[in-house]
Each structure stands twice: as C-alpha cells, then as structure tokens.
Amino acid sequence: MSALPPYASPLQRTWFYSFRFICGLIFFFLIFPIMVILPLSFNAQDFFTFTKEMLSLKPEGYSLKHYNDFFTNPDWQQALKNSFLIAPVATLLATTFGTVAAIGLSQSHVPFKPVIMAILISPMIVPLIISAAGMYFFFSYIGLQGTYVGVVLAHAALGTPFVIITVTATLVGFDRSLVRASASLGANPVTTFFKVQMPLIIPGVVSGALFAFITSFDEVVVVLFLGSAGQKTLPWQMFTGLREQISPTILAVASLMVFISIALLTVLELLRRRSERLRGVTPG
C-alpha cells in the first residue's frame, strides 16, 4: 500500500487514491477541532465563529482581548496558580513512589506480584467518576475533602500507574549484571542506583513523570468533587465556564494549553528517539 506499482489497473489506481483521500479526511477530523480554536481565540468579537472581518483577513477582526482577559481576570489567574501548585507536587510524589516501586517489581522474586501489580495499576482502570465518588466519601470522612493536600494525594494516586508502566518498560531492557558489576566494585545500593541504574532508566522516568503531570494538569472530575473553591484548577474553571456562561476567554486558555501539549509531545518524542538510539548501541 505504500506505493502504487506501475502495473496497477485503473480500478486499483482509483482505490489507491480514494483510500488516501479517506485517510486524509480522518486526519482532518482528528486535527481540525484543535487547530480551529487557535484563530478563533484571536476574535475581536465575543463570538465563537469566524466574523466577516476575520475571513477577509482585516486586522480589525483580530485582537488579543481574550488573552488579555485571561491574564488579568483574577478567577483565571487563581486557577492557573492552583494548577501549577497541584500538578508538580502530585507529579513529584507519583514519580518517586512509582519509580522505586517499578524497580522493586522488576526484580525476579517478588511475592504476590500479579496481585500487587493489579492494585497498583487500578487507579488507571477504574473510571474517574467512581474514583472521584469513593475519594469524596472517604476524604470527607478523614477531613481531607476540600483541602490542597487531598487533591494532591488523589492526583498522585491517579498518576502512579503511568510511571509504573513506563519505568517497567525501560527496565525490561536494563542489564541486571550492571548492578552486580557495580556492587562487586564496591558501590553501595544507593550509589549504584544513582550512578548506574538511574542514568539508564531516566527516559522512562521522565516520560512517566510527563504522563503523571498531564494526568494531574488535565484532571477535572476528581478535583470537582474533592476540591473546594480554593483549589479551582484551570480545567475546573474551563468546565464551569463551558457549563454556565461560556466566554471566549476559554478559547484563549485552550490555545495556550494546546501549546503546552505540543511542548510535552516534543519532549516525549525526543526521549523516544534517544532511547531508540541507545538501544541500538548497547548490546542485548
């Protein structure tokens, strides 16, 4: 399918091009909704559609007023601040716990491994609404509902499965004899971990951390239930904005968030290339 052979019949030729056309349409479906909000966020009017001025590319049709609103409105600023307070701490917790546990799980003699694995992965499988409901009941019981700590702990729990999965995946390619070599040369386990193991598994740790970060940064269901007005995050503010009074500022926020996603995607892609390159050089 990658190229049309020279002997293709007219029917095959037609099918080849129409298949590509269909795929083009599906790619368009995937990317268009994300791309369309970028120009719309510069709308000078409070509309959610292209105005005549915008279509004729007149400068007066465009403005930065929605961005201006985002950076001056105290509600949005509070939400932005909360998002950047909660997500990094949750990421740090999830990455630390997750990496250590993944290293433990990768050893050959772990008792009850399948059960432990199932429990550790479960936050990723259980639908968010159920996690949110359970945590709401339980956290209000122990007095963590509506607190910053409660939201951070919940987000950390939701992020750990991703760290476990990515770090476990990199540990599969990790040569255990390196640890033994390091120990035989007199390094203690902590030195071995930081000097030998960590540099090799760092791509998995970083991509796990990115997954954990985006999980917390995007998460809205749990924060809606567990948080109070003081823990409003960006997704929360967007959610209430979309449900109640939909304002075009949301489009400006959405555009900024698309750029965050592009940045994360780039970092991940670079990491993937790096680990592929490393895998090509290191034996076995």
């Binding site: 599906i26 433990g104 432990i116 479960s122 996690s131 729990a157 997954f211 940064f217």
Partner: protein
C-alpha cells in the same frame, strides 16, 4: 537439584554453612528488598485509592441510620408482623416516642426522614412534622392516638413496613433502586413504568458506548492500516496528527467541539455559506446524542489507533504478497490474510475504547444535553445534588463491576503488562 555430592557430603559455602540454607537466606533477603521497594507505593495506593473504593462499596449496602436514630423502635418492631395489615400497638409507639425525643434533641430525625424518603416519598415531611409536635405530646396519655393526631401517616401500614424493612444495618435497597426495583409485599418488583430511569440509563450508556466504539473502529482501522504500511519516516510524521489530539487536554477538545457544533458555530455557518442548508434550518448537533457521539469518537480515536497500529506493525507484508502470488485479488488477500491477523488489535482497541467510554463523565455532561448523558452523570448528580450517596455508591459499584469484567477480558487479549503508552 540435589544438595549433596555423590559421596553423600553436604555442600557448604566458604564459611561452612549448608549451601541450601545460604541460598534460601539470600533469596529471602532479595524478596524482602524487592518488597520493601514496592511497599511505600502499595501503602500509598491502598490508603488513597483502594480504601475509598472499599468505603464506597460498603456505603452501597450500609444502612445503620435507622438503627442509630430509632434504637428502641427497631427492637419493638421485631415483634410486629408487617404482613398483618395492622398498625403496631401502643408499645411500639411508646418506643418511638422515646426515640423521637432523643432524636429531636440531637436534630437527627430530619436526616432519617430524608434517608427514608428515598424509599417512600412523604416520610421526610412526616418526620419533620412529628418532630415539631413531639414536645407537646403527653407521656401519660395513649401515645398511639397522639401520633395519629400529629400525622395520620402513622396510621398507614406502609409507613411501618418501610421502617421495619430498613431497620437492619445492611440493605439491598440501594441496589434494588439502581435496578429500578423495590421490595414490595410480594417480594422484589419493578417500579411503576414512569419511575424507571436507571435500567434505561444503563441501556443508553451501553448503546452509546457501542456506537462510539464502532465509529472509532471505522475511522481508526484505515488510519492504522495506512500508518503501518507507510515507510517509517512518513508514518512517524503522520503519527503526530494522532498523538497531538491524544496529548491535548480533554477540556480543550470538548470546548472545541462545543464551539464547532453550536447552531451559530463554525460547521453550521459553513453549511449555510455553501447553501447546503438554509439559515433557518441550522442543524442541532449539540446537547443531544449526536454531540456526545461525535465528540467522544474524536476524543477516544487515538486509543483505538495506537493498539491497532502496534499490532499491524507486526504483520509481515510477505503474507499478503504470498496470497496475491497464489492468485488472490486485493480484497481476498486483505480479507482472508491481512484482516484475521489484525483481529487482536481490534480486540485490544475496542475493549479499551469501550472501557473508557462507559465511565465517561465530562464530555457527556458538557455536550450531551439531557438525551446524551451517561450513568456516570447520574452518579455525579446523586453525589452533589440529591445527596443520595447510597444510591450513588450502588450505581458506582455496578459500573465498577462492569469495567472490571471488561478489564479481565482486556487482560486476556492484551495482557496487563503489555499496556503501552505513547
């Protein structure tokens, strides 16, 4: 393995200990170390995640409020036969009076009233009304008459039947409610047709999830096929078009669809502009099922494409070439040779999309209106608006069971260790 040499001597280590014991010790230490590494996270997840889920499961059957608020009445009611058709006697009313005096003092009677109101409407007002009258009652006079004078519902046998039915500390009542059923005098029966909502909502959740899964498959299969067939350089480039939506915030994508699908939105404007529809005939594509299906298909499509792609990547092109050289035409070669090999990918992708979609909350809430909402929206409603937490827990438990069953299927197809990200 034998731990003795041929002449019967026990193998020892350098320092004279038996080899077997030394090995066992080393193994134990290694196990302990592995476990100690896993333990912090395990404890963390058990406290912050597993305990809340167990608490929710418990809450779906827990019902100690009647026993706690009216302890004496519950004991007194044990003698009473709910099938007799007669209101309990003076002794029960005396117990009820004692309990109510305490409950009104602690102001717990209204909570009990609203709890029992889920089972039989009207009980909430009955308890509030009686609570106001209780101080004026005279302990010396017959209490039964005074209660009946306070509210004639105390003379209604069904009130007492509900009270007796829900006096045990555990109840299946929330689950019956979740199945649109209730416990009548003749056992379990379905509620009147106009009160049945949950079975319908479960049905709709399943139906919409199937439609979303199928449309993801329909759109995802060609894309995965193309990506797997193209040279790596091109396919990596096109993969960005799949991964960018995957990494974009769920709310960004939902708000994009909200903007696109509105009646004054981009799609309708475009259709009017090319004269396909008239200005008065703008399509209603949001706040209904269409909105939910379109937006969720877009959001979940990467979860279909990625597993399909990783399976198709492993299918060797030589099989299709062999089929063609043996005389198969393009379609036969695809359908008989390529497609069967891609079925594991279809299974993995479909189960994943289905699991994700039956528990979805945000997107249906924002673009689904009233006709496109899922069971999860009802759970959220019971937690935050109607405060019927027991019913929310029961509905959540049912959803959880469904997801876990599906996950076991997924585990059988793909294996939990083979979950790949990005």
């Amino acid at each position: 393995m034998s731990d003795t040499t041929q002449d019967g001597q026990v193998l020892t280590t350098q320092d004279g200990r038996p080899l077997k014991a030394a090995l066992g010790r080393a193994l134990f230490r290694e196990k302990l170390r592995a476990f100690l590494l896993v333990a912090p996270l395990l404890i963390f997840i058990l406290i912050t995640f597993v305990a809340p889920i167990i608490d929710m499961l418990h809450r779906s059957v827990e019902n100690s409020i009647v026993e706690e608020t009216l302890p004496k009445t519950v004991v007194a009611l044990q003698e009473w036969d709910p099938g007799s058709g007669e209101v309990p006697d003076e002794a029960v009313f005396a117990a009820l009076y004692d309990d109510m005096v305490v409950a009104v003092d602690k102001k717990t009677h209204t909570r009990l009233g609203s709890r029992l109101n889920y089972e039989q409407s009207g009980i909430s007002s009955l308890f509030r009304k009686t609570g106001r009258r209780i101080k004026r009652m005279d302990e010396g006079e017959p209490l039964k008459d005074q209660f009946l004078a306070a509210d004639k519902k105390w003379g209604d046998v069904t009130t007492w039947q509900v009270l007796k039915q829900f006096s045990p500390a555990y109840t299946g009542g929330y689950f019956l409610n979740a199945f649109d059923a209730k416990l009548g005098p003749e056992g379990v029966e379905l509620k009147p047709a106009d009160e049945r909502i949950y079975l319908f909502l479960f049905g709709r959740t399943l139906f919409l999830s199937i439609v979303i899964t199928l449309s993801c498959l329909l759109l995802g299969y060609p894309i995965a096929f193309l990506l797997a067939a193209l040279p790596l350089r091109t396919s990596n480039l096109l993969m960005i078009l799949v991964l960018l939506p995957f990494w974009t915030s769920l709310l960004v994508r939902t708000s994009a669809w909200k903007v696109l699908l509105q009646q004054q939105g981009v799609i309708n404007d475009f259709l009017v502009w090319i004269n396909l529809i008239s200005d008065s005939g703008r399509l209603v594509m949001i706040n209904n099922q269409t909105g939910t299906i379109i937006a969720m298909t877009h959001i979940l499509l990467p979860f279909m494409i990625l597993p399909l792609y990783s399976v198709m990547k492993t299918i060797s092109p030589t099989y299709v070439r062999a089929a063609k050289s043996l005389g198969a035409n393009d379609w036969t070669a695809f359908w008989r040779v390529y497609f069967p090999q891609s079925v594991p990918g279809i299974g993995a992708g479909a189960v994943l999309v289905f699991i994700l979609s039956i528990g979805y909350y945000i997107t249906p809430e924002l673009v689904g209106g009233t006709s496109g909402i899922f069971i999860s929206n009802r759970i959220a409603y019971h937690i935050s608006s109607s405060l019927n937490w027991g019913l929310a827990a029961a509905l959540g438990t049912l959803l959880l069971v469904a997801v876990l069953v599906l996950f076991v299927v997924y585990d059988k197809i793909v294996g939990i260790d083979n979950v790949k990200l990005g």
